[in-house]
């Protein structure tokens, strides 16, 4: 990433249509400021990650963490600057992506996988793996609406990680789940990370970050404040918060 900025256009906040007509009618004397409004969520950021980097993205609310992750995931496109991402990216930005409450667990494995960009055949291949990992048994034959929140999170996590992407992006932890599941999720993440891929994780939990990350990016107001050692970054962030 070189000098990347992201401007969000703010729609639906423009002056009312009637006001604009008035402004035209009065030949601009009644100015209504019809210019589009923008929010700059990322400001001239430079970032270079190589395989094996496990980056913790930290910062206060509205620092631009999620925007940065979405930018790398390719959901947003930068307003200026250059970006190049090599490899397959998978995002866990929230639980329940593309899953349908009415569909059964099995159908949802395909729905979720397809939403992530895999083909039907690819999902068929890792079907067994998901079945085993989630340990949901016969529940997979039932519609998703009877699942508990933890079970849904388990299924979503299993689908998102079934394909070993080159770059994994996680926003705000792994979500809810009982102890046994969290342990298994951690094991899966550790296994994934041992394959020298790139991880980007935004979280407010220092324990989680310490467990998985080896680098840190501290953000404030869309700018990179610090990039480097994890412990130093957390220290700086805590100082900043005071």
């Amino acid at each position: 990433m070189k000098n990347v900025s992201l401007d969000y256009p703010v729609l639906g906040h423009n002056p009312k249509f009637s006001k604009r007509v008035l402004s035209l009618a009065s030949a601009g004397r009644i100015s209504s400021g019809t210019k589009k409004q923008y929010v700059r969520s990322i400001d001239k950021l430079n970032l270079h990650l190589k395989p094996g980097d496990k980056l913790a993205v930290i910062g206060g609310n509205g620092a631009g963490k999620t925007s940065l992750l979405k930018l790398i995931a390719g959901i947003y496109d930068q307003s200026s600057g250059e970006k190049s991402v090599v490899g397959r990216v998978t995002t866990i930005l929230g639980t329940g992506f593309g899953l349908d409450e009415e569909a059964t667990g099995y159908q949802n494995i395909f729905l979720g996988g397809i939403a992530l960009g895999y083909s039907y055949k690819e999902m068929e291949a890792c079907f067994k793996d998901i079945e085993e990992f989630t340990d949901l048994g016969d529940f997979l034959n039932l519609p998703l609406r009877v699942f508990s929140a933890g079970m849904k999170a388990r299924l979503a996590f299993a689908i998102a990680t079934c394909k070993h992407p080159d770059i994994l992006i996680i926003d705000e932890g792994v979500g809810t789940g009982d102890k046994a599941f969290l342990e298994r999720a951690e094991m899966r993440l550790t296994e994934f990370l041992s394959k020298a891929n790139i991880l980007l994780m935004a979280s407010h939990s220092n324990d989680l970050l310490r467990k998985f990350c080896n680098k840190c990016l501290l953000m404030n107001n869309g700018k990179a404040v610090y990039f480097g050692d994890l412990e130093k970054g957390i220290e700086l962030y805590e100082e900043q918060a005071k």
Binding site: Y8, P9, L11, K70, A73, G74, I75, Y76, D77, V89, T91, L93, G94, F97, G98, D100, E102, A103, Q107, F110, L111, I114, A115, L116, G117, Y118, S119, Y120, K121
Partner: protein
Amino acid sequence: MLKALHRYNLEFFKDAISVIKKHDAWLYIAWVDIKLRYKRTALGPFWMVVVSFISIFCIAGLGSLLFSIKLAEYFPYVACGMVTWSLISALITESCMLYINQQWLIKNIKTSLLNFCFRLFVKNLIIFAHALVVVFCVLFCLGIDFKVTLLLLPLTVIIYMVNAVSIAVCLGFFATRFRDVPQVVQALINILAFMTPIMWKPRMLKEYAYLADLNPLTHYVAIFREPLLGVYPSSLTWSCVIVFTLINLFLTILVYGKYKKQLVFWL
């Protein structure tokens, strides 16, 4: 201008080809869409058959009295026209809310926007196929033989697919940016149902019959209805459809290339 068009061109076709390659994915989702929609109903997708049969029957009966045409002649015409129209109107109205309904996905996962377009088309084509069962029953009962013109239908389906994807892109993007569009389209589609020859025939307009030809939807309906009825669509119809398809495709390439990266901010 030409350079930009060339770039957009590549972008659209590159994305389209990669989506078509993964056809098993959207075919599966479209199928699940339909299954879920009729979940826990006794008749399942055959509700569509029942509903379309009743409405066709009522309208054909009423029309044959109104216009004093023999029911046997009028019934197949209305049946074929109405199932085609329901496909067209569903494609147009659903295009408006296509991206708005999927905003969670678009905002959180990198997906190809064209995926939704193909899925919309396939879903509605499956619904159409169910309704077509009624049409074939009607034609069979009336003793109308199946003609060789039915062989034109695959071509018609391909033309519909190109147009459906184009409309889903153009109208979908437009409606996402300007939220008034779905309301306008909803109102227009009801008017168009009367302005398009489905319940009436262009020759009933006598010297004003050419007015029906000015409506592009007349021709789009005709390329589905005429082969079903065993008639070859006229050359005017073919040329109109081809010209409109090309215009559609051209607009789509421009809109898609220019705005596909901005759509996420409009949601």
